[in-house]
Amino acid sequence: MTTTAHAREREARARAVLARVEQRTGARSLVAPELAPASTAPEPPRPVLTDLERPPLPVPPELERLLGAGLRRGATVAVLGSTSLALALLAPASVRGSWVGVVGQPSIGLVAAAQAGVVLDRVALVPEPGPDAPGAVAALLDGMDMVLVGPRAGLTDADRRRLVARARERGSVLVSTAPWPGATLVLGVRTLGWTGAGEGDGRLLSLDVRVTRSGRGAAGAPLAVELTLPLAAPGRAAVPDGGKSAGATSLRLVG
């Protein structure tokens, strides 16, 4: 009895060491998390076997109603109508150490990305991939957890199918800001209105949007939520006015 327990413990330890080595050398992109003890069973979102091997990428808490616990690895997500929402989708994973590749989106606002919480040190841009767009996206899917594909990446439907398969195989998440036939998940954004600006006074503060989910499989049931963009950057409290008012209070006497 004890010998089997001992052997099992040794096996678990050996597996953990192997996984660490593989991750460190980049031979493997995903860490198998410690198996959760069975006592936490009542939790409703069921960890499927594939999720244990490939933990989903974190998403902003405001989007959890639409996306569940996270972005399933290998998924293809089209975010239509709002670049801010796409940036907010990238931010939590970026903060946790994932790299983000941006292909064919020369208009991406990098200051906005940084404000959304995307770590620019782990961002690579390919603004104009030209005719080699499929190769560039495929290479980035191999090496990065998230790849954002914009409208300037010239892809045919056959390329798209191949890239979806590639993403599924490599466990990366493909985010498209242009329509993507066959996407696992489509987030359609309808703007409800900006707040903050008046008749020559104030400034833009926040954008109210209605996000509609559609897609294939479990995501097929249509669902909509209303959000206020920009979302709070991960790790920071919600500061709707961008933290500017904090500086205004620290007045000091001069002269």
């Binding site: 208009s107 606002g109 990098l110 841009l125 390919v126 603004p127 290479a139 090496g143 008749e199």
Partner: protein
């Protein structure tokens, strides 16, 4: 003496800060001069000292003693740069020197003295070399650092094993010479003060104390001082032995105007450089590629080699860097017919910051993680596919409008952001920043409620509240009619006049406008026209 000690030579240029400052400030050597840091004098020239000026005096006192005293500002960088001449002169006599501070050099004397025949001959050779570089200096040789320092002040050679006797008559205040920086000097001053109050006034008396008791009473600093005065060196000089930069180059005759010809030559010199690095078992932190054209123009770019994952620095990768760099150069030259550019006549690759392979400094928290290594490899592959300039890495930099706050550099190059972020940048656009920054600003017309064009006047006010924004068709394929959007809310104008004193200065005013379809745009008024710079979406 059983303790480890090193025969040390010290080369001392008296009053170095003032010597360097007089060179820089064009002060003649017969004028009394001193270096002043705003509080007190740091260094005093010999002429000024003869007039009674002393180090540590306040400015008023010094000018009272010597009214014609020239005061020069303190500048450590200038001192260090100027001293490089002396250091190089000394390096010609003996390889491996340590610059303790500008003005003071440490040299291990054993081997050099044997080479020159005697210690005296070696000291003379050192002094001569420095004189040829244009500076007076004094050399002292002794066992241990402190004895050598004091010997340099006396321009003397202390025979081996007699350092303790040589030091004995000096007052304890001489310990201050061994302190290399201001903090150490202050600590030493406290120690000397304490010793004097305890009645220990000479180094000999201090050296006579038992080592254990000194450590117990005076702590680490006391123990260090005690070892110094007994002529035992706590550490031998740290030799500076900079590895030379390696380079490989070739002349191209006839000049290479085509990429494949130049790359072929590049491949050869890449292999040459790689062989040189292998032969020394070395690696380099930066790779500089320089191409010279027939018109004498020089294109150089430095690539980092510590990125790029596990591939290492192979000849193929060096060739890639050369090819990417030439690609942009030759293509642009061919496309624009630019007379300044043109065929390449000379190609050089230099390995900078060469160090022994395996001795590179890791990151503070260990090496690159698996995810970083994978990403680096992927980026290398994309760069190989699309060329160097297709893959960019962004960084934030200081600035006010949406474009200039972002610095983009090709992946793998070591370009730095131009402007620091941590400055206030008053007038910067307020957060949130626009999520879509148009690659090229679109010209628009802004109309008021009556259909007249809205302008910004010299007082930075709008002629009328904007009511509509009109996009005119600019590109082919768009419907050939104007697209109007009604403005439902707006904010601004925020004037921004940057660098108005310089020729590259520009002025503009930003307006945020919310359109009736729910979107918002950032409009800018520059030079009498409106453009749409970005979209908030």
């Amino acid at each position: 003496m059983s303790a480890v000690t090193t025969r040390t030579a010290v080369l001392w240029v008296p009053d170095w800060p003032v010597v360097a400052a007089m060179r820089g400030g064009e002060v003649a050597s017969h004028e009394p001069a001193a270096v002043h840091d705003g509080r007190r004098l740091l260094a005093v020239s010999a002429v000024a000292r003869a007039a009674g000026v002393r180090r540590g005096m306040r400015r008023r006192t010094a000018q009272g003693v010597c009214p014609e005293l020239v005061l020069l500002g303190a500048d450590e960088a200038r001192d260090a740069v100027a001293f490089e001449v002396v250091a190089q002169a000394a390096e010609q006599v003996v390889p491996g020197i340590e610059v303790v501070r500008p003005g003071l050099l440490l040299v291990p004397a054993d081997g050099a003295a044997r080479y020159h025949g005697s210690t005296e001959a070696f000291a003379e050779a050192l002094t001569d070399a420095v004189v040829r570089a244009g500076h007076e200096s004094q050399v002292g040789v002794a066992d241990g650092l402190l004895a050598a320092l004091l010997a340099a002040r006396a321009h003397a050679v202390v025979p081996p094993g007699t350092s303790a006797e040589f030091l004995a008559p000096y007052p304890v205040a001489a310990l201050g010479h061994a302190a290399s920086d201001e903090r150490a000097r202050a600590a030493t001053r406290t120690l000397v003060d304490l010793l004097v109050r305890l009645g220990i006034t000479t180094l000999g008396a201090f050296a006579a104390l038992p080592a254990g008791d000194v450590e117990a009473r005076f702590g680490g600093l006391g123990a260090w001082a005690h070892r110094l005065v007994r002529g035992e060196d706590p550490r031998p000089p740290v030799r500076r032995r900079p590895a030379p930069d390696l380079e490989a180059g070739c002349e191209l005759d006839p000049p290479a105007a085509r990429l494949d010809v130049a790359t072929f030559a590049g491949r050869r010199i890449a292999e040459d450089l790689h062989a040189q690095l292998l032969a020394r078992s070395a690696t380099c932190a930066r790779l500089e590629v320089v191409a010279v054209t027939e018109h004498g123009a020089e294109l150089s770019r430095t690539w980092r080699t510590d990125l790029g994952g596990l591939g290492g620095l192979t000849a193929a990768r060096i060739t890639d860097r050369i090819r990417w760099q030439l690609e942009g150069w030759l293509d642009r030259a061919a496309g624009q017919g630019d007379p300044e550019r043109g065929a390449v006549v000379r190609l050089v690759v230099r390995a900078r910051e060469v160090s022994a392979a395996g001795a590179e400094q890791g990151r503070l928290w260990g090496g690159a993680s698996g995810a970083d290594v994978r990403a680096h490899r992927a980026l290398d592959r994309v760069q190989g596919l699309l060329g160097a300039h297709a893959v960019l890495t962004p960084a934030l930099q200081g600035g006010r409008d949406v474009r200039e706050q972002v610095h983009l550099a090709p992946w793998g190059t070591s370009e730095r952001a131009e402007r620091p972020v941590d400055r206030p940048w008053p007038g910067r656009l307020p957060a949130p920043a626009p999520a879509t920054v148009l690659p090229a600003p679109e010209p628009v017309t802004v109309l008021d409620a009556d259909g007249r064009a809205v302008v910004v006047d010299v007082r930075w006010t709008l002629s009328a509240p904007p009511a509509r924004v009109r996009w005119s068709p600019t590109r082919r394929g768009e419907p050939a009619r104007d697209r109007d959007e009604r403005v439902v809310a707006w904010a601004g104008p925020w004037p921004l006049a940057e660098r108005w004193w310089a020729p590259d200065g520009h002025a503009k005013a930003h307006v945020q406008a919310v359109l009736d379809d729910g979107g918002a745009v950032l409009l800018a008024w520059t030079a009498g026209d409106w453009v749409c710079e970005a979209r908030y979406d």
